[in-house]
Amino acid sequence: MDSLITHSPALIVALPLVAAFAIPLISRAGPRVRNTFSLVIFGLITFLVAILAMDVHSVGIHVYTFGATAAELALPGGYTVPVRIMFEVDGMSIFMGLIITIVTLAALIYSLHFLKGQTGQARFYSLMMLLYAGMMGLAFTGDMFNLFVFLEIASIAGAGLAAYRTNMADAVEGGFKYIVISAVSALLVLFAIGILYAQYNVLSIAALGYYMQYTTLDMMALGLLGGAFLMKLAAVPLHMWAPDIYTVAPAGITPMIYTSSAAAMYALYRVTFTLYGSAIDTTTIGWVVIILGVLSMFVGVMMAVHQTDIKRMMAYHAISQEGYMLLGVGVGLAVLADPGALASYGRDAISGGIFHIINNALYKGMLFLTAEAIFFRIGTRDLNRMGGLGHRMKWTAGFFIIGALAISGIPPFNGFASKLLIYESVLRFNPILSVIAMFVSLVTLASFTKVFYSAFTGPEMPAYKEVKEVPKSMIIGMAILAACIIFFGIFPGLVVNTIVAPATDALINQASYINAVMGAVP
């Protein structure tokens, strides 16, 4: 069991790759064999993630060096810098790992029933495993170039999955926009990695953090990295691609595309907090992140209010919620150098921002599933043509209410817990930002009330008299997410202390990340 825990970072990324390449061979034996194989392998991977999470929270940072004579041997005898590719799993990495695993498990189970009748299913599951491997590698890596490679793997697999239904023209267009944006952003990341390597001759994140002196070229590299990750994240000036792809992706894939953006957000935090960390003037950078977060919140919700396509509206809300995360962590970044402010409200701001990532994954996932359920039954996404569905689709309406209340931040759902953390801490930093955040919440509630009114209430339309509820498996998928939302809302303290607080500590504490690799180097 101990050796399983030691090797688990590598196994968690290698097993999905094995599955991705074996599924085209195995699916020759029939669809049932392939589905069972995917579920078994993914169950094994979920178990490995769970035991790794328990170990990281109790013991500390896990370092895994590929190809050395022992897994933790980052600096073999005589070396002062790490030369091998490394995975370094700390609290923040395993937090992202847990989110990615939960979302992929839900997407896998949902897709098993959703894809009946489509061709090319073997490649769908293969690409889903590749996307999972790419995102987990991005979360676990301790090496800058490895970050680039896994970022590209996740982008290519995500674009292939989003454009899966090639018989629909707009699906291919959405996927095309996604791959263009991802390719440009990844090339900018590679440019910045080149600049950093030319200066310090190391590629490992811990070693770069150790040797970092903030020269002009490093400023350029930070600008390029920040710009590239913000492009991938759909922060506001560069958000044009996001609504298109959320609208056209198949039902299980939309939460995974959102998780891919969250992984890019993790990479942004890893670069600013750990790679640059104490060497930069965090106040300026923090304010840039805060301004972009506020812009995203505001523009996202304003564009969402007048949409008529239900999934496109939810996509704009996803952009707006990402603004909350950027705001929370931006406030924490701005006060990073000030220990008093950090202890009193900075840490809570970062916790709120990070907690919001997992909350957003849960309720946005559920809202997208309800929109897909409606589309599954009546074949249209246009709000002007819907009406009176609440009479027939009672379960879907119920889950929609839960999701809408959670996203607006109404107690007792989980949105309230993370938004309260953000409001309180941002209020002490700058009251205006908190007021803007609360205003955006109100407008979110208003737009979801509009959708509920036009889609679910009202007289039953004659065209939809025969509409039944969606199949049991979809209801089970939505019910699992709803149960998590209610649980996180009623016991937020439990969640924050168990998984969010270690992540916050891991981000703030740059020294422990560096020491785990560089050891006792003076």
Partner: protein
């Protein structure tokens, strides 16, 4: 003759290529030209990576029958190889998508073939 080329020349060339590539990506509407712009940006970044490994008077970093002396840095060459492989995959994917878009809409102009708006 080699001494008269300034040492910054490859970096200037990479910056020029990147500038042209960004101009194409932002301002051109034909989808095939957009893909060419991305390929050009990839070439600029690859050139930058290989050029930063150069050491004056160095040989290729291969031990088989190499003359004595300095060697250029091998790590950026490995990074460039990986980047080339990834870009092959990305370009193949983008070209396939453009063929699908052409089949559906009959047009490869970005403005005319746009269906998702708002």
């Amino acid at each position: 003759m080699m001494e008269h080329i300034p040492l910054n020349f490859p970096f200037l060339a990479a910056a020029l290529l990147a500038g042209v590539a960004f101009y194409i990506i932002i301002f051109k509407r034909n989808l095939i030209k957009l893909i060419m712009g991305i390929a050009l940006l990839a070439s600029a970044v690859n050139l930058f990576l290989v050029a930063l490994g150069y050491r004056a008077g160095g040989n290729a970093p291969i031990y088989t029958d190499v003359p004595e002396g300095l060697m250029v840095l091998p790590v950026p060459q490995a990074l460039t190889l990986t980047s080339i492989v990834i870009n092959v995959a990305v370009l193949a994917l983008m070209l396939t998508m453009v063929v699908h878009i052409y089949r559906h809409t009959g047009d490869i102009d970005a403005k005319e073939s746009r269906r998702l708006k708002g």
